[in-house]
Symmetry: D2
Subunit: 377 residues, 4 copies
């Protein structure tokens, strides 16, 4: 199996998500980190890339330089990851897709619904992969839940409850800290705070596991820390295309919750519960039976859940390996090999539509609104 070349934009030294991408891309030995424009500061970015093993001539100062140089190399990168701040995702993703590169874009894919639709069209037109990093969907036990729902093991799904609530922005006097402040400032973050940042992970997870998209929603937003304009706590009620009831709570002031992403699915025959802080277990309750603890790697899971689990039962696997699963299937897809599900530009677009719908609903005192992107109505 020959190695693929991988490039990265953003994810510089000290960034939050950069390491997860590097571990994820390299763990399976399918990608070699060949190029990068890692930092807002060109010099820092070039230096860090080289320290990470990128050749000097491919350690770029910015993404435009990288695009220009990579485009014409015979050994050009096979995949680019976009892990820069949100408001740059659209233009970078667009430019690389247009130049014929496969892209893995961080969430949120775009700032507006219109941009989202443009990316979807572009991905379709160019035939390039445009994946969005909804990495939680690549945990083996999340795939297992999806498979169980699809196989009808839960019967008709009545209700899904998804939360992504943590307490890491609870510090009021942190409100002036620039790393925190931009997130609640419409000028930088756009129309939404926590819903766009974390809520969309929970929403994607719900749609993904159910195999069913959000159709309408009603939202209640609150900015609980004085000085914040955008929401730091939000509740969204929704209905899916097939009528399932949805409840989604997302917060950044929930002291006591660390990662705080969890999901419960209730069907007519069984219920499931999963939490990202213990990603290797699913709690299954079949009607009339007992709660059973399903374990990653146990006998009888679907092939997909087994394939994406890399070490034997009960050895914990965490977030970087979920990201590695995304990269594994990107490598497979690029190589033309069989691959599993990849979160797509369509998913990225749907998230944006739901965020904008939630903002509109919250402004209209919780009125129910259509949550679908115009192009999917």
């Amino acid at each position: 199996m020959s190695k693929l070349n991988w490039g990265m934009i953003g994810g510089g030294e000290g960034s939050q998500i950069g390491p997860a991408h590097r571990l994820g891309a390299q763990a399976d030995g399918r990608f070699v980190m060949a190029a990068g424009a890692l930092d807002a500061d060109p010099a820092r970015g070039r230096d860090y890339a080289q320290r990470l093993g990128v050749a000097a001539d491919r350690a770029y100062g910015d993404w435009r330089e990288m695009l220009a140089a990579e485009r014409d190399r015979p050994d050009r990168i096979d995949l680019v990851t976009v892990a820069t701040p949100n408001n740059t995702h659209f233009e970078i993703t667009k430019a690389f897709l247009e130049a014929g590169f496969h892209v893995l874009c961080e969430k949120p894919m775009t700032m507006t619904v219109a941009e989202g639709e443009e990316i979807v069209r572009l991905a379709r037109d160019t035939g390039r992969i445009c994946a969005v990093n909804y990495g939680y969907s690549a945990y083996p036990m999340v795939r297992q839940m999806k498979a169980m729902v699809a196989a009808g093991e839960l019967g008709a799904i009545r209700c899904v409850v998804a939360n992504f609530s943590h307490g890491h922005h609870a510090a009021g006097d942190d409100a002036d800290n620039p790393r925190v402040r931009w997130r609640y400032d419409p000028a930088q973050a756009g129309v939404s705070g926590q819903m766009a940042d974390c809520g969309i992970h929970a929403l994607h997870l719900a749609s993904f596991i159910l195999g069913d998209e959000v159709r309408t929603l009603s939202a209640d937003f609150a900015s609980t820390v004085p000085g914040r304009v955008l929401e730091d706590d939000a509740m969204v009620n929704f209905r899916t295309e097939s009528g399932t009831v949805g409840r989604l709570w997302t917060s950044t002031i929930a002291l006591g919750r660390q990662h705080g992403l969890d999901i419960q699915v209730f069907g007519e025959k069984a219920g499931l519960r999963w939490a990202s802080e213990q990603p290797n277990q699913v709690y299954l309750h079949r009607l009339g039976g007992r709660v059973e603890i399903m374990e990653k790697g146990e006998a009888g899971l679907t092939d997909e859940a087994q394939r994406l689990s890399r070490v034997p039962i009960a050895h914990p696997e965490g977030f970087p390996l979920a990201i590695a699963n995304i990269y594994l299937d990107l490598a497979n897809r690029i190589a033309g090999a069989p691959a599993g599900h990849l979160p797509s530009a369509e998913d990225g677009l749907r998230s944006m539509a739901a965020v904008h719908a939630a903002v509109a609903s919250a402004k209209a005192d919780g009125a129910w609104v259509d949550a679908r992107p115009p192009m999917f109505r």
Copy 2:
């Protein structure tokens, strides 16, 4: 300390809540079970009362007979507990209050807001105790949380999240089972299903711990099991008098949750989490600190939390002893001794107003409505 005489209406053999009342009333040796009209079937009621040690002449066939007989005895009961089905609470409670008895009424106290207001006025006019059995509020660690909030240990409260969701009515084919069906039938259950049955416990707990009442709310109701008219899954967003954001989810189809009552309180300085299935612990997260596990009975708790904990640290205490705490303070109050908080007719009324508000909001697509009883506006 001389013993008080106690009588019970409802709670017959095989009833759900009857045993908790008997254990709770007798555990401290303050009440003697002296009279009872325990069953819808007079003969069964008389027989069972006698098997429980009630003298034959005070083992009544129905509550009217009991009222008539007890009213004039010199050793008449000091307290009557009403643990019959919901739609009888109002008339029985009213009749006993009017006759000068102290009453502990099961929740929901009444079926309508107007009835609730009438009971509140009657309790005030007669000077009798009319308590409502919000027993969860008598757990030592719930009292501890309330005290911490009151003492400002959490700072201003930003958000409270309370759930009471279980899966015990998830069986679709159980929908015809009379023990389940009546709960979703407006003719028998009134305007609301799960919100009136369990949601009000979570709502009371939130108000109780916060020391702050619900002012407005917006609700989303769903009847997920075919054939049900009333809601079996509900989400209520609310705001308290002081502006705290509230979120309440209650469900009966949540397979995998057993008791499913839990509460999280998020303040500017700390967060708390408590779940009724592990009632002896509270998780405390102070801003900038670690999550700490508080234990019932540990050194440094408030006097109230210590008083209501009956066995040393780490010996678990459960629901019957929470009910015993209610009875302990009823005994104290009746005896004129110092007593702690007792959930009151005002609390029962507020619950009814909130239930009716939630029903109205749900019908109006989640419009925000006033949740207060008219007499408290």
Copy 3:
């Protein structure tokens, strides 16, 4: 059902175990607290008994006075509980048995094996009940485990692991605190510290659940806090009559463990796990299956487990209700009604033999010794 008269020795105001006995004896309304010699200080004892509702003439200053007075009353007590310090259990229990009273004695029943044998013989000769308060054995889910083992659901039992380790005596500078010091002082505590105090609960639980007695053992004792003579940390390996391997760890310096009593049973077909801090659940793992969470009160438990569970599924029940189960069956037994298992003088004797065997083994560097009382060899 006429009420039984109950008397108590020890368990005065502020005592550790007194409240659990009073809650347990009274909760079901089967016993009336009719007499007591509650305190080492006669005046305090008389006063407290009266505050608890005992008539003045039956609020005794000491147990001899109580014995003399009660012996000849027509309404004499039906049962006496002995909850005084360990070194008084033997003489009080002996005296009351000889006078024809039924006795519930706190653990350890005696200080020596010979005393234990004497009590066993006396109970047999007098035909009186002599129960020992191994209250954990009366939890519904402990009874369920015993029933499952007896029914062969686990197949042959290979290994049992029982721990009772907490950290409440970890404070080195507490070593001079009289409430702690006596426990490690041979003059007051006898031959053993933590093994006699807590280890015997774990050992009783193991034998009880297995229906199989300890035959031989090997022990390793440590006195980890400077100044202590008796052990504060002990490990005992044992073999039962039927050859099951046993492991028992008991400690008082295990900071981080609160109550710390738990048991795991491993059979050829399944394993069980139970912990006293969450007494309402048992974790069951059938070979080739998943871990299942059994819940107190769920459908399908044995009649005995159902009978001893007093409130519906998922409402937690704790230690005082386990003690109430002991009293419930004492009442039943005294009344000649069908009753469940009661921990007996034989159990109390076996505990003493095991403690003395462990002390001997530890002194002999872990040599394997016979753990049975001479009269049962």
Copy 4:
């Protein structure tokens, strides 16, 4: 940073531990998998290596061929991992050390104590790294515990309790399954079953965290599944050089435990608890305080714990990243960069000495024996 060349012996397709090594070695991009002799079957090994990206001329049929070829290459491997069955570790490790390669050897490093001493001498003489894959010691929170003990945060350590007990060999009828049978057959597995396989992980962890070695021990072994010669359940009591009391239970028949590796450390000032199934948390109980939940990545951890945590707080990291931490420091050490602790040949030797001591003690009915390798006495 230029990449290092890495070779692997064993860990072929379908092997248990192979994937963890590949993920661990590659995740940071410091090693390129350059050579391998992956399988007992030469053809399968060559094929699989090539599918993993190894060049055809470095995809070897067996380790002797690999040694012969690599020894003289200018781009020869910088590190070889030995992940073959236990009885081959000694000769392979010896041969590669003698040829001047750095080695990471799987546990147990050797079959006998004499072999272990030989490897230790060889590593010293050649100056090559000989690390042993005690990967659990590289979890960030394990390093944090070690640092806290070293800094005296727990005061003098009184007791350590380490378990590695699972139920994966509980199936009696699996006793003939060759993958299981060899482990209990002295001809293939040597003197010990589960103690040598898993017990040594727990023992290493205890020594590592304490910074204190085992001096004497007493063991109780059992072969609970009929037909097994070697132990499948063992209890070891030990004392460290500084007198700390140790307790170690290891089992393969513990149905209900999945991974089952956990450790508790009790000092005079605090206690710690960690379990490998939730490796990102440590429970800390300071004397007189509450149990606190420490989180991987939280502020205030030691630099070492922070360095080895790769993704932000509350994103779980699992076993493959612990292995990656071993490889990261191997890369650093080879490159002459600052590196953290690496489990060493000395550790591997001590494990063997302890295993042999435990076997001897168990045979001598639990007699206390010296657990140190002769060369360290």
